[in-house]
Symmetry: C2
Subunit: 324 residues, 2 copies
């Protein structure tokens, strides 16, 4: 392995100087810099991260902990956070919390033991107090898509309630009155918010929901709940709080011999993975997880980045009937 020493010898300078040019220190004469740079190139030198980390007591590593790796927008999330991390010349370590507070905390501890310089947390199970305690210990982290009281400045949030309200409003504006909502587990704060947005919009329009059904954010539960719904009621519009459940709902609607949007209109929460690709393409309310993840990573790396807020937006596609 080529070391700093080798490069220094080749260039006829000291190790300190090589270190300076490699790290972009400006206090080096242009000529010296050039000599060193050629030596680096000729030798194919690449700094040893372990030595660097040891000497500087910075690992140059960020950590990402998510609930799980499967489905949903995990790929997009990881992609975004990693791109941003690499843009800063750092590397990313990723771990999953496997949907339990215990595992999530374990993952976090592991990452800190690995000396990560900071963590992006996209977790659901771990309680606020644990996060608060971590902050007290001086740990550096940001929380993605979750509001923690007392940690507002570390949280990158999205207003799920008004996003849902907006989505529901599309139906209402289109003249729909018999509207159902298929939401996620009531054990999750963001599910509750999404449902609330729906209820608020209905209430403000003086409308009674045909039904509010609870699913698991997966396709089978979307299919099952919608099947039950269609047996008992005759909604003209269904609002699905994520894409997977919307796929399940589509299946159930098709099986029943009903058509979208002629018989039933559909809007879903959009992570951009599915909604544009099914037929009919689903009208949705966009959840800008990538943008949020990018901002979260920047925030972690750079204390003073200007505050951004993320507003829900409707993406009109082909699954809604009515005078939009």
């Amino acid at each position: 392995m080529i070391t700093l020493e080798d490069v220094a010898a080749r260039a006829g300078v000291s190790r300190a100087t090589v270190s300076r040019v490699v790290n972009g220190d400006t206090n080096v004469r242009a000529q010296t810099r050039l000599i060193v740079e050629t030596a680096v190139a000729e030798l194919g030198y690449s700094p040893n991260p372990a030595a660097r980390a040891l000497a500087s007591s910075q690992s140059n590593t960020l950590g990402l902990v998510t609930t799980n790796y499967r489905g949903g927008f995990f790929g997009a999330l990881m992609d975004t956070v990693q791109s941003e991390t690499e843009l800063h010349g750092m590397q990313l370590l990723v771990t999953q919390g496997r949907s339990s507070a215990e595992n999530e905390l374990g993952a976090i501890q592991r990452l800190y033991n690995l000396r990560c310089d900071g963590l992006v947390l996209h977790i659901r199970a771990l309680e606020d107090e644990a996060l608060l305690k971590l902050a007290e210990q001086g740990r550096k982290f940001v929380v993605l898509d979750r509001e923690v009281a007392g940690l507002e400045d570390r949280c990158v949030v999205f207003d799920h309630r008004s996003a849902s309200e907006l989505a529901t409003q599309v139906f209402i504006n289109g003249g729909h009155t018999r509207i159902a909502c298929l939401h996620g587990p009531t054990s999750r704060a963001s599910s509750l918010l999404r449902r609330q947005g729906f209820l608020d919009a209905m209430h403000n329009a003086g409308l009674e929901p045909v039904a509010t059904l609870e699913g698991d954010y997966d396709m089978p539960s979307g299919h099952q709940q919608t099947t039950l719904l269609l047996q008992e009621a005759r909604p003209t519009a269904i609002y699905c709080c994520n894409e997977e459940m919307a796929l399940g709902a589509m299946l159930a609607i098709n099986e029943r011999g009903l058509r979208i949007p002629q018989d039933i209109s559909l809007i879903c929460y959009d992570s951009g993975e599915r909604a544009p690709f099914v037929r009919p393409a689903l009208t949705s309310v966009h959840f800008p997880i990538s943008e949020m993840a990018r901002y979260a990573t920047r925030k972690l790396l750079n204390e003073h980045c200007e505050k951004e807020s993320f507003l829900p937006q409707i993406v009109h596609r082909d699954s809604v009937r009515g005078n939009q």
Copy 2:
């Protein structure tokens, strides 16, 4: 930060001894071990990976490079490789090759520069020669789901041809004669193999394919190709070379007012993400990527693990009509 030194002082032993117990060296008296262990626990000591890596010139890190992070079975792949890596007390670094030879090589180099002890490569674009050259340079890696001539012992492979043959055979045994195949890009070796298996089975049965169509392994292309197919021909069975295209095919079939399996039977290549969850659940030929990934990781870590081979298996579900 608590160091070895601190623990040594607390326990009244030398640093070397602490290092031994932390690393599970057996040459330590039980009593000494106990004292050290309590000191570790009381102080909350956790070894500094950078220092460790520097001193031992092993990073304790494995790398995984994949084509991309989105869809397909990436989540399962990453999950499996990481679990196996952590089982060995190591950590995993993941990068994507973004489907170009250049990027894939870049990702590999980056990971080696980061001093990864070994790499799991699940890549498509990079040419065999580049891989051969890497091997010559003494780089440690295994190749997942790809056969590289001259590197057979580092490759974990699956017989895509016979998997496809097996799948097609299910249709044939069921009495189908008008069978079409929707395969992936012919630029990819494994796509070609999957198509070949289909053609072989048809040929052996003395049957002429209704059509062989090329898609992009994504849902829109599955939808599009199937739509075209149904305009021009009337197959009773379609074999789809991945799940996403099968979803697209299902949509097209539904749109045409046809039913699965009454009018058209469907079988797909199965990565386990989708096929079991749609309605009707899709009969498929299982591609055991998780098992293969686990084996690949073990192989990377342990030179002498017994050879495993992975055989295609049919998972019967509800999308095939006929006397199976």
